[in-house]
C-alpha cells in the first residue's frame, strides 16, 4: 500500500483502539454472566467438600498417570477413578461453576464471532487459543 492510499483512509489511532478494548473488557465484566462466573469461582474455592472431591480425583489420577498413558489401568482402578470423577463433577459448587463458565463462554463466543466477521479473521484462532 502506498502512503497516499494510507492517508486516504481514516485510521483509528492506537490509543483509541486500546481504549475500545478496555471499554469492551469493562462491559464484559459488568454482565450478569461474568459476575455469576466470578461468584461461582469464589464459591468453589471456599467449598471444602468440593475441594476434597477434586483433590481426591486429581490425586488418584496422578497416581495412575503412567498406567493411564499406557492404557494399562486395572478395571478396579478405572471404576474408582470414574467414581471419584462423578463425585467431584456432581458436587453442587462444581455444577454451578461449570454452568456459569458455559454461560460466560456463550457470550464471549458471540462477541468474538461478531469481531471475527468484522475483521475477516477468526478471533479465537488468531489469538492462539488452539485446542489441546
Amino acid at each position: 500500500m502506498s502512503d497516499f492510499d494510507l492517508n486516504e483512509l481514516e485510521l483509528a489511532p492506537p490509543e483509541v483502539v486500546r481504549q475500545a478494548a478496555r471499554d469492551f473488557a469493562a462491559a464484559l465484566a459488568e454482565t450478569p454472566q461474568f459476575k455469576a462466573y466470578e461468584e461461582a469461582i469464589e464459591r468453589l474455592n471456599h467449598d471444602t467438600a468440593a475441594q476434597r472431591a477434586i483433590d481426591a480425583f486429581q490425586s488418584k489420577q496422578q497416581s495412575l498417570q503412567a498406567l493411564l498413558m499406557l492404557n494399562a489401568v486395572s478395571a478396579a482402578d478405572k471404576a474408582e477413578l470414574q467414581r471419584l470423577q462423578n463425585a467431584f463433577s456432581s458436587a453442587p459448587a462444581v455444577v454451578a461453576y461449570a454452568q456459569a463458565q458455559a454461560d460466560l463462554m456463550a457470550i464471549c463466543q458471540a462477541s468474538a464471532d461478531w469481531l471475527s466477521e468484522a475483521i475477516g479473521l477468526n478471533y479465537a484462532t488468531a489469538c492462539g487459543s488452539g485446542c489441546c
Binding site: L9, R18, D23, L28, A110, S111, S129
Partner: protein, 127 residues
C-alpha cells in the same frame, strides 16, 4: 449464542460494535484489508495458491504410496518459489501476520482487565 442474543446485553453489544469498528480502522487491519482485497481480485495469485495446495496434497498422497519422483519435488519447489516471489501473496501474508500480532496485543489488553484469557473463553474446543 448468536449476535442477536447479545441484544439482551446492550452495553456489551455496543462495546463489541465499537471495538469491531476500531479494529477495522486500525492501521494493521486497514493495510491487511487492502492486501486481502488485492489478493481476492488477483486470479493469478489465487490460482498459484490453489496449485500449491493441490501439489502439496498430491505429494503427501504419493509419499504414502512411496511414489514420489524427483520431478514431483522439483515441481513443488518451483511452485513454492513462484508463490514466495509473488508480491500480492507476500503482501497478503505479511499484512495478515501483522494484523494477527496486533489482535493478540488487543486480546492481552482485554484479558488483563478481566483476569482471564478472553480468546480462550471465546474458543470452541474441537478436541
Amino acid at each position: 449464542m448468536t449476535h442477536s442474543n447479545l441484544n439482551q446485553l446492550p452495553d456489551l453489544m455496543a462495546a463489541t460494535q465499537a471495538l469491531a469498528e476500531n479494529l477495522l480502522a486500525s492501521e494493521p487491519f486497514a493495510v491487511y484489508q487492502q492486501a486481502s482485497a488485492r489478493f481476492s481480485a488477483d486470479p493469478h495469485a489465487r490460482g498459484l495458491i490453489e496449485r500449491l495446495s493441490q501439489a502439496q496434497a498430491d505429494l503427501r498422497r504419493r509419499q504414502m504410496n512411496r511414489g514420489v519422483t524427483q520431478a514431483d519435488v522439483d515441481q513443488l519447489r518451483a511452485l513454492q518459489s513462484e508463490v514466495q516471489s509473488n508480491d500480492v501473496i507476500v503482501d497478503y501474508v505479511t499484512t495478515q501476520q501483522s494484523a494477527v500480532a496486533y489482535l493478540r496485543e488487543i486480546n492481552q489488553e482485554i484479558s488483563l482487565l478481566i483476569g482471564s484469557d478472553f480468546a480462550a473463553l471465546a474458543g470452541r474446543s474441537s478436541c
